[in-house]
């Protein structure tokens, strides 16, 4: 079992109302110094078996045809290694 993460973000030139709303709220919360916020989706897929090149290629295809709408979104696929600093 391995975890593959697909991140889907709106293309940079596409309006991101959600990210904007978050960014505009920051100063009110006392946070300065964040010049842009973009909000996207994160998919965590638990894959049975080894995540070899063939498996990755298939997931890439899945992301392209289903998880993202490439008219407005970009995506990245990565195999998850260890965790970053985790929140509780």
């Amino acid at each position: 079992m391995a975890r593959v993460v697909v991140d889907v973000m709106l293309k940079p030139e596409i309006l991101d109302p959600q990210g904007q709303a978050v960014q505009r709220a920051l100063p009110r919360l006392g946070f300065e110094g964040v010049s842009d916020v973009r909000q996207g989706k994160r998919f965590e897929l638990e894959v049975d078996g080894p995540v070899d090149d063939a498996a990755l290629a298939r997931i890439h295809e899945l992301a392209e045809s289903f998880l993202a709408n490439t008219v407005i979104e970009d995506f990245t696929v990565k195999v998850e290694e260890e965790k970053a600093e985790a929140g509780k």
């Binding site: 109302p17 959600q18 709303a21 978050v22 709220a25 009110r28 919360l29 909000q39």
Partner: protein, 226 residues
Amino acid sequence: MTARIGVVTFPGSLDDRDTQRAIRLAGAEPVALWHKDKDLKQVDAVVLCGGFSYGDYLRAGAIARFSPVMETLIEQAKAGMPVLGICNGFQILTEAHLLPGAMLGNNHLHFICRDQKLRVENAETSWTTDYEAGQEIHIPLKNMDGRYVADERTLDMLEAEGRVAFRYLDFNPNGSLRDIAGITNEAGNVVGLMPHPEHATEPLIGTGRTDGLPFFTSILKKLVNA
């Protein structure tokens, strides 16, 4: 003298004018409150109405919860002022931790608008005394993020303390745990629910029933008799 009940308008609030109408129909005086003002204009109670404050971006109610008006409101609600949160208002109250638990997207992933049957489980809160405990009512429901969740311990506590104020009957429209449609805080002054009583206050309009009016007459009686 009648009671003055505030209705907060956030950017994206939708049911502020309807809620004011419902308050008027019940015989109380509606007072418009603005999200950027900390001043509650000395109202006797506040309704946080439905809508999509800040577009419901991030999470429903998450941004509105940090607005200036909420600072005062949180303080006063803790001191006992009656507050009713309807739909987006309920979401704001959970985000503000005035009510436990959280609201998530409907389990079927769609917005849902329907005439919903409910049971009034607690007829002793500030907003429900004009109902009978166990009374079955129909109230319009319309939301995208109506799934009430909380951990088991919180749910058990709510049940044990009689703080589940309303429960969905016949059909759970959003996957809320234990069919919970609305809850109250311990003191019974803060109540939140997903369905919209303000849309059930006039014959002919909406579903044509007036099952929601007692919310507003309950609070009026409480405030006037206080």
